[in-house]
């Protein structure tokens, strides 16, 4: 099957006071129609910037330096800003981490939804209102007619995130980019939101690019997983393989550092140290300073991202040491 999204060599940089900083470094991946792909990483890994690059919402200081983004058969690189505005919210939508601040406080929920609809669908206000209200029903907001007239401040975080989802999915996009959609929510609400996203996207055939640091959420939601570290992809495979047999020491470290829900009395093994500050200028592997397997070679030359097992890519010279003995 043809892929919905095909990213090749994406490199995004930001202008800062200390010069140019490359936040996303040569990132390539594909996303199939209807698939859920998780982009996992810690703060500063470049996962959010990757998402914003796809939306071309990098702001004044950010710029895509290189790379090609094919979306639904067309290159987003050559698309004008006006055409991009047509695509945003229609073909590709995005929801964000902070539902408390993501909605405009001075417009009613109804107004914001109707605006999103009428930007892309040529219908009158009344029809758009009906559509908006139906969408609020669909995302499980009780008393949608009343909520239409309410302002964001009178809704809880979970309800606001539902509104965000309604707004993102109302035009039935082909791709939903969800940037830490449940991080700011309580666990019970998080579970509801995850279920909701999953159910609606399945109905609409919408693919999800899920950006998160929470491996629990990844395990629940994702089909495939990309792990990012210091601006680069370090591992990519399907979700089951990733949790069963990670082939990058960083992924393995991440998995070992989250408390399991089973009573296996496993001690947590933390990854020592932190992401090096000036990793862009490192010669070798960016994880080498925290890696238990690092050799001299790791410090002098950077490992490439290689498909070592069919469907399983890793950026590590020593991956074989991580393979389980059969």
């Amino acid at each position: 099957m043809k892929s919905l999204l095909n990213v090749k060599g994406l490199t995004t940089a930001f202008e800062t006071e200390n010069g140019k900083v490359i936040s996303v470094d040569d990132v390539s991946f594909t996303l199939k129609y209807g698939e859920t792909l998780a982009l996992v990483g810690e703060s500063g890994s470049g996962k959010s910037v990757t998402a914003l690059s796809l939306m071309r919402l990098l702001g004044k200081r950010g710029k895509i330096e290189r790379g090609d983004i094919q979306f639904d058969g067309a290159s987003l690189q050559t698309v004008s800003e006006a055409q991009m505005q047509k695509l945003r919210g229609d073909e590709l939508s995005m929801i964000f981490q902070e539902p408390m601040t993501a909605l405009n406080p001075v417009f009613t929920i109804g107004h914001q939804l109707v605006e999103a609809i009428r930007l892309h669908v040529n219908i009158d206000k009344k029809e758009a209102k009906t559509l908006a209200q139906n969408m609020l029903d669909k995302v499980g907001i009780p008393n949608a007619a009343r909520v239409m007239k309410q302002f964001p401040f009178s809704l809880s975080g979970g309800m606001r995130q539902r509104v965000m989802i309604a707004m993102a999915l109302v035009c039935e996009p082909k791709l939903l980019i969800a940037d830490e959609p449940t991080t700011a929510l309580d666990v019970t609400v998080q579970a509801q939101i995850m279920r909701l996203m999953n159910q609606l996207c399945e109905e609409m055939g919408t693919a999800i690019l899920l950006i998160t640091h929470d491996l629990g959420v990844v395990a629940e939601m994702a089909d495939r997983v990309i792990v990012m570290y210091a601006g680069q992809i370090v591992e990519e495979t399907d979700v089951f393989t990733l949790f069963r047999e990670p082939l990058h020491p960083y992924t393995q470290g991440l998995l070992a550092s989250i408390p399991s829900m089973d009573f296996d009395d496993k001690e947590l093994t933390a990854i020592n140290g932190a992401i090096p500050a000036n990793y862009q200028h490192l010669q070798g592997c960016r994880f080498a300073n925290r890696c238990p397997l690092a050799t001299e070679a790791c410090r002098t030359s950077q490992p490439p991202l290689v498909e070592v097992v069919p469907g399983h890519k890793t950026r590590c010279f020593e991956w074989q040491q991580l393979q389980r003995g059969e």
Binding site: E35, E220, S257, I258, P259
Partner: protein
């Protein structure tokens, strides 16, 4: 690990906040943040306090160390009833708190050395000439290099700042540490470092913890017993195993079911049709 002597006894504690309503603000309603909570913590034990935002878990922690006024009820520490108006100084030597956001709880214009020296000086924990030595000891205790003392908070990463926050709390050599969401703001790989530090410190110093968090994983990892809080009340309390394997209260069960298990073979939230069919 636990002895039979309760270090902290919380008896029917209530913390209410008045809010003015009505015409000319004449009427007073109350927000019942903590609404009649009772529990014990034994010496050397870790009690986890879980619940969702707004359930009153942080308020309870802050009430115990006297940061919030207690509306009703009693708190006993080491057999003595606490009177927060008169016992402030002695209290702060016994109970300390570690906050969620280490950055906002550190003065940006103070070096780490100053941050740690201040409580030592104010409470005369060690003689003035021994302060530099004590500061270095504290830094080593939390796994920071001694060179950290001449640097400022902004030069540190989140995890290191939390280590400073812990060192500061330990400066007064308290017996009970209230940890209010101490790892929630940190990256996953750093969370484990800090959790292990808490465990290690407990073994070395015989500390007692009240560990407040919304993340079940962290609480499960560190706690001997767990209290589940909902709407200002403790709805269930038991050993970690009981809470996780044999939860009694409906809310505890909901909470456990909602927690995403980091294992895709044990999905509990999303039962989905196999999307692989699309391929």
């Amino acid at each position: 690990m636990t002895t039979k002597k309760p270090l902290l006894v919380v008896q029917n504690v209530k913390t209410y906040y008045p809010i003015k309503t009505g015409f000319m603000n004449l009427k007073t309603d109350y927000v019942k943040a903590v609404d009649g909570v009772s529990f014990d913590i034994f010496e050397g034990e870790t009690v986890g306090l879980v619940g969702e935002s707004g359930c009153g878990k942080s308020t309870l922690g802050r009430t115990i160390i006297g940061l919030e006024p207690i509306t009703d009820g009693h708190i006993y520490f080491d057999g003595q009833q606490m009177d927060y108006r008169t016992d402030r100084v002695s209290l702060s030597k016994q109970i300390q708190i570690v906050f969620q956001d280490p950055y906002s709880s550190l003065n940006p214009r103070q070096t780490i050395g100053d941050v740690l020296a201040e409580p030592l000086r104010v409470h005369r924990i060690v003689a003035a000439r021994d302060i530099p030595q004590e500061v270095e000891r504290l830094l080593q205790l939390v796994g920071l290099p001694t060179t950290a003392k001449s640097r400022y908070p902004h030069e540190f990463s989140g995890g290191q700042r939390q280590r400073v926050g812990i060192a500061r709390a330990l400066a007064l050599r308290p017996r009970l540490l209230i940890c209010d969401e101490p790892v929630s703001a940190l990256d996953v790989s750093i969370q484990a470092q800090i959790m292990n530090l808490f465990k290690q410190l407990q073994q070395e110093l015989g500390l007692t913890y009240l560990f407040i968090a919304h993340g079940l994983g962290a609480v499960k990892y560190i706690s001997d017993r767990i209290a589940v809080m909902y709407a200002g009340k403790i709805v269930e309390m038991g050993t970690t195993e009981d809470i996780f394997l044999r939860p009694q209260h409906a809310y505890t069960k909901t909470l456990l079911r909602a927690y995403p298990n980091p294992d895709p073979t044990k999905r509990s939230i999303i039962q989905r049709t196999q999307k692989g069919a699309l391929e």
